[in-house]
């Protein structure tokens, strides 16, 4: 099985540690990971901001970069959802039936990280060690578009040393919402304030999630308020072992 990592634009340029961690987890699980150089961005921001036509070249590029693989793993629920739920529709609306079909094929073999580990590889214990108190924010697109359900928690519960504490009102959106965070900064910040208050109540050292974009927003608020709570992507926790991060 040829397995590709879809890094995502944000992780590639802003938080590369998340992709490095994903590679380490997958390789430890025996997967030979390939990273197609041609990949860039899923175009979700364009589609969700009202620019589906501008997203077409991105969809085309994505399909060309990943079409030849058997499985594509993404450390992001939101980008996985864009590939699975938006790409074919965007192509169809633009009248490109061939692209829509190719996009549908790529969508069918695209997995969010926790789905790939639990459903494809059949593992929940990846041999990680993370002796800290962690609270989990499920992120909206993983929760409601992909319906990853308990998979990330199954993986986290198997981590040695972890003290996993429940986040109050976990299923409430953190207020990121892509360009919503810039177009409606006041509401976005108010939602973030409530999310951070809930996180502080848990006494956790780390707030964890499966989406680097939501974590950028949450982490930005945690840092601004000097809460002392750090953020960790699911991949980073799973990549950490007794031997090192």
């Amino acid at each position: 099985m040829r397995t590709a990592l879809f890094v995502t634009c944000l992780v590639d340029g802003v938080v590369p540690e998340v992709a490095k961690a994903t590679v380490r987890v997958l390789e430890r699980a025996g997967v030979r990971v390939e990273v197609p150089w041609a990949q860039t961005c899923c175009g979700q921001m364009h589609v969700n901001t009202g620019y589906p036509r501008e997203a077409i070249p991105l969809v085309r590029n994505h399909v060309a970069a990943f079409g030849g693989f058997d499985a594509i793993v993404v450390p992001s629920g939101s980008c996985a959802a864009a590939v699975r739920h938006q790409h074919a529709d965007v192509a169809r609306l633009a009248g490109d039936a061939a692209l829509a079909e190719a996009a549908q094929a790529v969508a069918g073999k695209t997995w969010e990280l926790s789905e790939f580990l639990v459903d494809v590889l059949g593992v929940t214990d990846v041999g990680a060690y993370f002796p800290h108190r962690v609270t989990w924010h499920p992120t909206c697109h993983s929760l409601r578009l992909l319906r990853v359900g308990q998979r990330p928690l199954q993986l986290l519960r198997a981590v040695e040393g972890i003290d996993l504490v429940e986040l109050p009102d976990a299923e409430q959106c953190c207020g990121f919402g892509g360009t919503f965070a810039l177009k409606n900064p006041a509401v976005s910040s108010a939602m973030l304030a409530d999310k951070i208050a809930a996180m502080r109540r848990t006494g956790a050292s780390y707030a964890a999630a499966g989406d680097a974009s939501c974590l950028l927003h949450i982490g930005g608020g945690l840092s601004r308020l000097d809460t002392g709570i750090g953020t960790r992507h699911l991949a980073e926790i799973l990549a950490t072992t007794r031997r090192g991060p």
Binding site: E17, C41, A55, K183, N184
Partner: protein, 485 residues
Amino acid sequence: MTFLGMPTAPRGVGQLRQREPFPDAAASALGDRQLRRNLGHATAVIRAKRAAAVAEVADWAELRAAGAAIKDDVLAHLDRYLVQLEAQVTAQGGTVHWAGDANEANQIVTGLIRATGQTEVVKVKSMATQEIGLNEALADAGITATETDLAELIVQLGHDRPSHILVPAIHRNRSQIRDIFTREMPDAPAGLSDEPADLAAAARAHLRRKFLAATVAISGANFAIAETGTLAVVESEGNGRMCLTLPRTLITVMGIEKILPAWRDLEVFLQLLPRSSTAERMNPYTSMWTGATEGQDFHLVLLATGRTATLADPAGRAALRCIRCSACLNVCPVYERTGGHAYGSVYPGPIGAVLSPQLTGVTDNPDLPFASTLCGACYEVCPVAIDIPSMLVHLRSRVVDDKRAHHHGAAEAAAMRGLAWTMSDSRRWTWALRAGHAGRLFGRRYGRIRRLPGPLAAWTGSRDLPRPPAQTFRDWWARRARDTS
């Protein structure tokens, strides 16, 4: 895609349009601590109750699918069902009026009331009449309309606007209501307390006098059965039933999308609606009437305003399935924090962010489709499975097209085109990522970026950004591949 020739709701009448940019209206609403507390508490309570009421129904998913399918059938065959409804209502002694838009509807209702010689009417809570600004039109004609739903009465007496579809005074707490009653209700008892029972008793005494004096009533309708010509109003207080049964003349104003094909379809909707809206297994009062009953003079005004344009949009027409339950408002994290007034329209929250721009055209409500994080909580609770997030995304592209046609938003469009050009080719993208290293000039002091210029200042107002990494992932990967080969 634009829908030329499909009329949208007319300007200058009714309450469907944002009055100021949503981000500004939202920012002022966020500063209202009383509003935040009232709404936070009320929505949290109703969310939990709805979840419990829905969990009791084993076949909820099937009911929801049935609700969506029945409404889609109605929308696909509206021409046939409307004519059938008209024939049935007429055969039962009622009179059917067709109103193309809000102005026509207001004129028809005003004319009907004038013909009775009355200048005071009572009203059943109705979104359609709020939408078209009927009370204001009647006031201009010298007719006083009294709202008889308790929450609508509070809004009316307070010279206020509704902020929730089901609970229009959700932004008020009991001491504010006591103050409104004392100030505005001439027959309010002296020394009225803010105990809910006392407030309700004062309103009851006030309204009883109105009911007994009124000879004309105006209502909306939750459902209209095409097969039989039966109309239905679903409510909690019984004040609606007073209006529907006591007066000699009853005028019902109803959007054309409220039709159900057959009597038995009520079985589905009378389960979906109460559990989704008030979290009740069954609402206390369900009134149904067919044509003119017991010598009443009955008029049905069918309102098309903006609906035809909505129906013409394949990606948006499912919004007309909406049964106005408010479940999407109660779960919406944006609505919970801003309240309904920030949306400008009588339809706030997620469904309002879809419906208002559909009815008015996106030119008049350009911010509303963006007033959402696309978290999807609304779609999950919608009893007729309206995919609100997908519709918002669709409407966003119509807003962008509309701005383009009016030569607005050029900077954003140029940025999006530039990004798409850069990101559609991996060489350009790799180069851009490396250029991003210049960003390391920021954040040297604290290891994080605390302030950015231009549009990104909206981010750093409340959030830090990490300092850009020394090496992108793709460069790390390339080096690793070289080192291991």
